[in-house]
Symmetry: C2
Subunit: 387 residues, 2 copies
């Protein structure tokens, strides 16, 4: 095989670092996917997934990227001409909009509630739109905007949407297992997530859960995809605890192992750890005199976005970080390219990852002529405190 560099510390907002026990689970031999053994593994993994979603709803594992389940959530519920409300304050909210365009068509029926990218969505505005358009069929929102480090108030929006006929679709790709998500309590009809963020499994597997209310809509919606038709996943799972098409057996091993780690730590503990690491990271950047991209009320606990100080070139800064210090950070997406960088602190991230990364960022900025100090001390203070 091609020689690869596996040494980089992944402080990007996904894929995140995968524990060795998860990695090595994938070195196990392949088993047949139509065997009782795989059926039991699939059921076990699905049940663990439900615990992390905090749902009693039907849950499915899909071989595909996180986008495959975002696609499923819309293509299985929306027909041409249906009214769709997409809440957009980042690249992934916009992805839901683009997906809706394909399946609902690009007319007046497609309503976009746009926020400033650094701010969170407002539940009252969602309510206003639903009042004005009671025939909206689905509402989409992204819990954690990986592109901007913004967190949306999905519980509050759920409290609004539940009083209307609309289905509530939530993307928790970069929050589930790290930030508090309770699908049933939040009245989420379809919740989608990926393997490679807070769950800390490798990328390539995705999951979604589907409420009773959503099934009613799905069963009346035209089938628009063969591979991503959730009805076939339900049928095969109900009949035989199987998937309709050959699943990634290997990634099922990894998901099962990664979900064990999540559940063994405990969801509450995991939320607290993510919150504390986020607060330490934010305090660190603020002490360095850097400006955060996300407004204070809107900050994610899994990824922090930072505006570049005047004169810093993204490529140079991240080049030093990766080549000199062995740490991968992410740049800005879409119109934010070159203007911000993003640091992930999710999944299996620990104190030393945060502290080491902040210290290296100080050194890189100093090398580029920016006086950035005090970040590590500020982060230590947060980590020492009770939050």
């Amino acid at each position: 095989m091609r020689k690869m560099d596996y040494t980089k510390l992944l402080m990007i907002p996904g894929p995140t670092m995968v524990p060795n026990t998860v990695l090595t689970s994938m070195a196990n031999p392949i088993i047949g996917h139509r065997t009782a053994d795989y059926g039991e593994l699939l059921e076990d993994t699905t049940e663990k997934m439900k615990k992390v979603f905090m749902t009693k709803n039907d849950t499915y594992l899909i071989t595909g990227s996180g986008t495959s389940v975002m696609d499923m959530a819309i293509s299985n519920t929306v027909d041409k001409g249906d009214k769709v409300l997409t809440i957009v304050n980042g690249n992934f909210g916009d992805r839901f909009y683009k997906i809706a365009k394909i399946y609902a068509g690009d007319g007046d029926n497609l309503i976009k509630l746009e926020n400033e990218w650094g701010d969170s969505a407002e539940p009252e505005k969602v309510k206003e739109i639903l009042e004005a358009h009671p025939d909206i069929k689905v509402v989409t929102v992204v819990h954690n905007e990986t592109s901007t480090g913004v967190k949306n108030p999905i519980e509050e929006i759920g409290n609004v949407v539940k009083d209307y006929d609309a289905l509530y679709i939530v993307d928790t790709v970069s929050s589930l297992g790290g930030d508090y998500v309770a699908v049933d309590k939040f009245n989420i009809d379809i919740c989608v997530t990926g393997s490679q963020k807070c769950i800390a499994a490798p990328p390539g597997m995705a999951a979604l859960c589907v409420s009773e209310k959503a099934w009613k809509v799905i069963n009346e919606t035209e089938t628009k995809s063969f591979y991503l038709d959730v009805k076939t996943y339900k049928k095969k799972y109900d009949d035989k605890k199987e998937t309709p098409f050959t699943p990634s057996v290997t990634l099922t091993y990894a998901m099962n192992e990664a979900l064990d780690i999540v559940l063994n730590e405990g969801l509450e503990n995991r939320y607290k750890r993510h919150e504390k690491l986020a607060k330490a990271t934010i305090a660190g950047f603020e002490a360095m005199g850097l400006e955060l991209f996300a407004k204070e009320r809107a900050r994610s606990v899994t990824v922090t976005s930072v505006k570049y100080p005047e004169g810093i070139v993204d490529k140079e800064f991240r080049g030093i970080m990766t080549n000199k210090y062995g740490i991968s950070l992410a740049g800005g997406q879409a119109h934010l390219g070159g203007k911000i960088f993003r640091m992930g602190h999710m999944g299996e991230a620990k104190e030393y990852h945060i502290l080491g990364t902040l210290a290296a960022i100080e050194m890189a900025f100093n090398e580029l002529g920016i006086d950035a100090t005090g970040g590590v001390d500020a982060a230590k203070k947060v980590l020492n405190s009770e939050i």
Copy 2:
């Protein structure tokens, strides 16, 4: 993680046994998918994939099951009302028909050329239909029907289709890397395959290649899927050697390693090995007095289907095989359930796998009161001969 039984010999028609070096490649840490390092891995893997496809056409790796690329081949080329000819002589040919139904609609425009399931498709009949319907937009065929052990004459059918406007779409999921497929020489416009059969990588990654003629059609076809829109794969690959959505980094490691093994053995050698193992298997079954499901002219080199002798219950026979001898065989699909069993002999299968399996099958049949002997000797004779 849940305790699993990894000890079964996989003589099913996929997923197949994966070499240890491929399995352990997946225990390597995850790297960022937007890095130059991943870009080089993706390009390297794609170039190796092209060699196996024997094509100069654009080739893409997709995170998904084999069905995901079957879906792409149709959804990217066919609009509602378009005329589609699907050649059906097994479950996977029928899958193309079902996919076409979704995207082309279920009217007179959907033409099914049905063969007996144990026989291969006839190029002359394809010609007749194309003569009668010169406005057919795509023709689909499955090279190797995993469901029946039948091989279709894709080179001959390609020679027919090339003289018409129709695109030629071929599923080589269970043949590529084991049986002779030369995409450019066979005039295949879209060829699709999976990771988990003759290539002997784990399931979860798929590939397709797209001819110039196909691109013209794709660019004039309505976008019908977000996740499976091949245009976005092209754009991102051309721009940056990236995938539009987070790919399975792990399965890319595995594919790269598995393709190295395929290319190091050499395609010619690999075809010969598969042919010889198939002949030995067939000779073995015939010597045992068993009747094969596929007609002689139609037999696959990667999977052999065998009719059960009177009085044998599928579950009992395969139960003995798996529980007593540790060998997984497959049963029949669709209406063939209980009537046939299928033995895969592809990917990394070696002489001892074939000989050991045939011997165990003799023992299992004997245990069930069927006199089945001489299979191993007949297989040995074939393996000793020059073919």
